[in-house]
Amino acid sequence: MPYVVTEACIGVLDRACTKVCPVDCLYEGGRMMYINADECVDCGACEPVCPMEAIYYEDDLPDEMQVYREAGIAFFEKIGSPGGAKKAGKLTHDAGPAAMRAE
């Protein structure tokens, strides 16, 4: 039961979350951060530090944010479980609403 990054992250990418994650499971996509659900250990360190309040515990996702849980899964379909965001580096793709919004 992991955490999920949602709408308020899009275009912001503050990355305060990455500084506190003990397992480096927050990956940078093109326009927002994504949590790898398999690597997340549910420690909860990221949720309170996000200045945009974009992170939710999966159980607490409001209905309109459920789409971000699926986005989180789809994002990793291309790359699997890299075992740490530092290894993966900045990625250029997105999934879900962040991939659909045109600027």
Binding site: P22, V23, V41, A45
Partner: protein, 459 residues
Amino acid sequence: MTSTAVAPLRVAVIGAGPAGYYATEALLASETPLVAVDMFDRLPTPWGLVRAGVAPDHPRIKSVSAQFAEIAGHPRYRYFGNVELGRDISRDELLARYDAVLYAVGARSERRLGIAGEELPGSLAASDFVAWYNGHPDHAALAPDLSGTRAVVIGNGNVALDVARMLLLPQGELSQTDTADHAIAAFAASNIREVVILGRRGPAEAAFTTPEIRELADIEGLDVGVDEPALLEQPLPPETPDIKRIQRNITALTKYGAGQSDGERRMRFRFLRSPVEIGGNGRVESITLAINRLETEGGRTKAIDTGERETIAADLVIRAVGYRGVPLPGVPFDEASATIPNEQGKVTGGDREYVAGWIKRGPSGVIGTNRGDAVETVEQLLADFTGAESRAATRDDISAWLRSRCPDMVDHAGWLGIDRQETGLGEPSGRPRVKLVTIAAMLAAARDTAPASELQTQD
């Protein structure tokens, strides 16, 4: 081997828990200057509370150790286990040999209640109880008496919940975990059927995190309830700090209601209670509680004693009211906060000394909180050493000193030997590991020869 033009800065990190590893990670990431890290721990085994604190029924959290194992593979990292600052080596000796010393020793003692009867047999600190069931060698002989029926746990944080769960988990579940064998046996023989969790203030002031409250519903056969559920209906002022977590906690607790009176295994939350005396003839038999009311003043909610008392029967009292730091010989220490005084991690009045983790900021936060904390300290350290040359002893001089001073020192290969033996012992029964619980057993495993291809000597 190519010789480097400039010797790296050499930093001693004291403590191999999360704060120590995150500080090490940040130090090793520095390119100018390059840094080499020697990490020390008083135990043969590393990982601190990730090994000895995280509850065995939370194995996912323990997987952070994979990060630590990766950091430990770095060529500029060395591990020296079973070496204790004070007992084996001194602060002055470290400062003479290293460019800087970073203390990440955590908070291994506990806050006391300061009430009569606290010393009675059957009254324990959660820090000791948790260390016992996690196989910490210093507490393996705790032998808590679980022959009674009711345990009272004092405290409203996640440690209180860990203790309560471990006392009430169905027997079959524990046997699949890395809980120490002596604790699995003790819990299997336990008569404890009810755990009452006491909080000085109300549900809105509890430090629990929501997933830990919710997961109680998944424990088979466990009846969870809140004494006085009306307390859960108090409205929350909108300016309440951390209001989302508190609202979710209240919602989660409300689902349990008052519980069923005939539950075979029961967990009860009782709020607005402060312990004033533990009673009993030669051992814990009862606990007397002050009934509190709440008063909010200047954004802070306090518990005020109403003068009313209630006494309940208890066979075991476990206080989970906070860990507390312990001073290091020769190192500045603030008794009130039980931390080493510092500014953003640089020790006040120190000499090239730094701190990270609980000994720096007090025993708060989750594992990941230590990462930002450690990074802040390392930024200070690197700023202080910008452009500086290393004046440290050589790596070989340091190894020679440690090997002669501490013949029972456990290096990284030795830890891998312990790890290999523990995981090997767990494999036949599908357990993640079976912990070795004495220093002697750990040292024997550390010396156990492995195929040469697996050995990585560090110097």
